[in-house]
């Protein structure tokens, strides 16, 4: 390079400072944090064990029934059954169930954490103007960057995989909860206030129900992002289909990578359909023109 960028600050010492700081956190809080997250780890393992324990046909029937309940379409339900059957046939049932467990738990936690954050954001413009750029950064930051701090804190394993997945997948549910509540017809919120609703009553009797279709769209996107994170999360010990893909790369086995990839695609289609049809039915129930 003929003319390198001038060294304005000493980046080496800055980086050392950041790394040392983080190391300090790891050294002092690593263990308590690990203990704090133990219940979540147990929940994840229990879910996975349960799914593995269930006979394959029970899972297949249950998911197909769920698809039917959400979509009221035999075709869509049959599609779910066929795709799950193929997953079994090509021998990736077990990793697929591990992936489903990770996806379900991380989505659940993302929703439980994300909706209250979205609600808070919708109530204050200051909160929104702080949170939006943070969410932007969360969504544009390369996924791998999340892995580093979590692995350092917990070591490779399911907990860092779960946490990284949650951080990666949570922005849509926060964003769309905020958006949904802000777009609730102002006259309706005004009306419930005029009848003497407390802020809490206003939230639960008007704002959340009316924002529900939008919130559901957020949950759907969060589900899909959690699923897309599994390949990367497998690099730090998440297991499941992602690990199969990783092995395919390491061993240069095209078939292994292809089958696992197919499994991920099928799972994505199944859960996307369930969530979308459910959202659509809810919209009809709300009698809101879409």
């Amino acid at each position: 390079m003929s003319d390198p960028f001038p060294e304005l600050i000493d980046t080496r010492s800055l980086r050392i400072a950041i790394d040392d700081g983080f190391n300090w956190i790891v050294a002092h809080y690593g263990e308590p944090l690990e203990i704090a997250f133990l219940p979540i780890l147990r929940m994840l393992i229990a879910t996975e064990d349960f799914l593995q324990w269930l006979p394959w046909y029970v899972v297949l029937i249950a998911l197909s029934a769920l698809t039917y309940l959400a979509s009221r379409s035999w075709k869509t339900a049959a599609g779910t059954a066929v795709m799950l059957f193929v997953i079994g046939v090509i021998g990736i049932w077990e990793p697929a169930m591990a992936t489903v467990a990770l996806m379900l738990i991380s989505t659940l936690l993302a929703v439980v954490i994300g909706i209250p954050i979205g609600v808070t954001m919708s109530r204050s413009n200051t909160m929104q103007s702080v949170a939006l750029p943070v969410l932007d950064i969360m969504q544009t930051m390369p996924i791998f960057v999340y892995l580093i701090p979590f692995v350092m804190l917990f070591g490779p394993g399911k907990i860092p995989a779960l946490l990284a997945t949650i951080v990666f997948a949570i922005p849509p549910v926060i964003r769309l909860t905020n958006l949904g509540i802000r777009h609730v017809d102002a006259e309706v919120t005004e009306a419930v206030t005029a009848f003497g609703a407390t802020p809490r009553q206003r939230l639960f009797t008007a704002q959340i129900p009316l924002a529900m279709p939008t919130i559901m769209a957020g949950i759907n996107q969060t589900t899909m992002m959690a699923l897309s994170m599994v390949v990367i999360a497998s690099m730090i010990g998440a297991g499941g289909l992602g690990y199969q893909v990783l092995q395919g790369i390491q061993r240069l086995e095209v078939s292994r990578g292809l089958f696992a990839g197919l499994g991920i695609v099928f799972l994505a289609i199944i859960f996307d359909r369930i969530a979308q049809s459910y959202g659509r039915r809810m919209q009809q129930h709300l009698n809101i023109e879409s």
Partner: protein
């Protein structure tokens, strides 16, 4: 509180929208124009120095063009909007001093509201919508249901209680809105362009229904509209707003017959007065006396206090003697020779001018305005009726 007493008193309220309304209040008080203030400071004047008295049991209409501040004004009454300056007294107590809890109680029990675009909860049934105010106020389920069903029947929606709002037509949805407002049994009903989103025919129905309900319930209604016909049909008093300022308050006929300024005049110009002005509102008061007791002595003092005297026979108006006819000592002569007196046609005081037309034609009988069929309350000259139908200012 008895009818006729002041229910809502508005005292010099100002509402300025913008980043720092208090900072520009001096300019607003000094009379800066709405556009100038907006250009110079980015503040919008919603309401400027409005004072009003709204009486218990009346329907008070606020009228004005789009952006004149009607919605802003009505939202002060239940404090959905707080004024930048001024006071709002309901039953004599200052609404602005209510604590958060007291304000909620006030909204749950004292004042309810009907909205232009209905503002129903789409995920709740008609019944659930109607009892919304009761439910959040903690009324028991069974009791709320009973009250709700009563209101649903009152507005003519029995049988639809388990439907969802979007399954109903606009007119029916607004009936739900009305029932929801009535269900809390509040004394004050705020209606912000409640019928503006409806078709003309449905709108007429709703106006009739509201008049019916009001005749039974005697609420204090504040009704907002930009439609003069609606205002004249419903309003006991009408206030006209322009750019946040009050231009005139009065009864419908007062505003039609004596517009306070050019703006009001232009507003009321196209109204068919014959259809909205009552004969009673333009009549001159009269005294009455039984024809048998009429003499120069008995009539003279009566003619001094009113412009005309109606002579009654068998409880019905028979002759009219006006001050002019009795001038120059002609009174005695008139009484001696009553056959020369003109006869009488009676018109009810509540009749519209239009309905009095038949009595205008072809005779020179005096027109006596009566109530309860035969009690004379006034007389009206043909010329007065014709004048009333013509605009005062060109």
């Amino acid at each position: 509180m008895a009818n006729g007493e002041t229910k809502i008193a508005v005292r010099n309220i100002y509402k300025v929208f913008g980043p720092d309304p208090r900072a520009v209040m001096d300019q607003v008080r000094a009379g800066v124009s709405k556009t100038e203030l907006l250009e110079k400071t980015g503040h919008v004047i919603g309401i400027r120095d409005v004072s009003l008295d709204i009486k218990a049991g009346e329907t008070f209409v606020v009228m004005g063009l789009s952006g004149s501040g009607k919605s802003t004004l009505i939202r002060h009454f239940n404090r959905l909007i707080e004024p930048t300056a001024g006071q709002i007294l309901v039953d004599g107590s200052d609404v602005l001093e209510l604590s958060a809890g007291a304000l909620r109680d006030f909204r749950r029990h004292k004042v309810s509201m009907v909205f232009q675009r209905f503002a129903l909860l789409p995920h709740k049934t008609v019944l659930e919508n109607v009892i919304y105010g009761l439910a959040i106020g903690g009324t028991g389920k069974a009791q709320a249901r009973d009250k709700g069903m009563e209101q649903i029947e009152l507005v003519g929606l029995a049988g639809f209680e388990n439907q969802y709002p979007k399954q109903l037509s606009g007119g029916m949805q607004q009936r739900v809105g009305l029932a929801r407002a009535l269900a809390t049994e509040s004394e004050i009903l705020l209606m912000d362009e409640a019928f503006s989103a409806l078709d003309p025919l449905i709108r007429n129905d709703m106006q009739d229904q509201l008049k019916d309900l009001q005749a039974r319930l005697h609420k204090t209604i504040v009704f907002i509209t930009h439609d003069l016909d609606e205002a004249l049909r419903l309003g006991d008093h009408i206030a006209i707003l322009k750019d946040g300022e009050l231009r005139q308050v009065g009864t419908g006929p007062e505003i039609l017959l004596d517009p306070a300024d050019d703006y009001v005049d232009r507003f009321v110009r196209d109204v068919n007065r014959a259809r909205v002005v009552t004969v009673g509102s333009i009549a001159q008061p009269v005294s009455s006396i039984a024809a048998g007791e009429a003499s120069v002595e008995t009539l003279r003092p009566l003619l001094e206090e009113s412009a005309a005297v109606v002579l009654m026979e068998e409880g019905r108006p028979r002759f009219v003697i006006t001050r002019e006819m009795a001038a120059d000592g002609r009174l005695g002569g008139l009484l001696d020779n009553t056959v020369t007196l003109p006869g009488v046609v009676c018109v009810d005081e509540l009749a519209m001018l239009e309905e009095s037309f038949p009595s205008l034609t072809g005779s020179n009988d005096a027109i006596v305005v009566t109530k309860a069929d035969s009690i004379p309350v006034g007389v009206v000259a043909r010329k007065t009726i014709l004048n009333a139908m013509i605009r005062h200012r060109a």
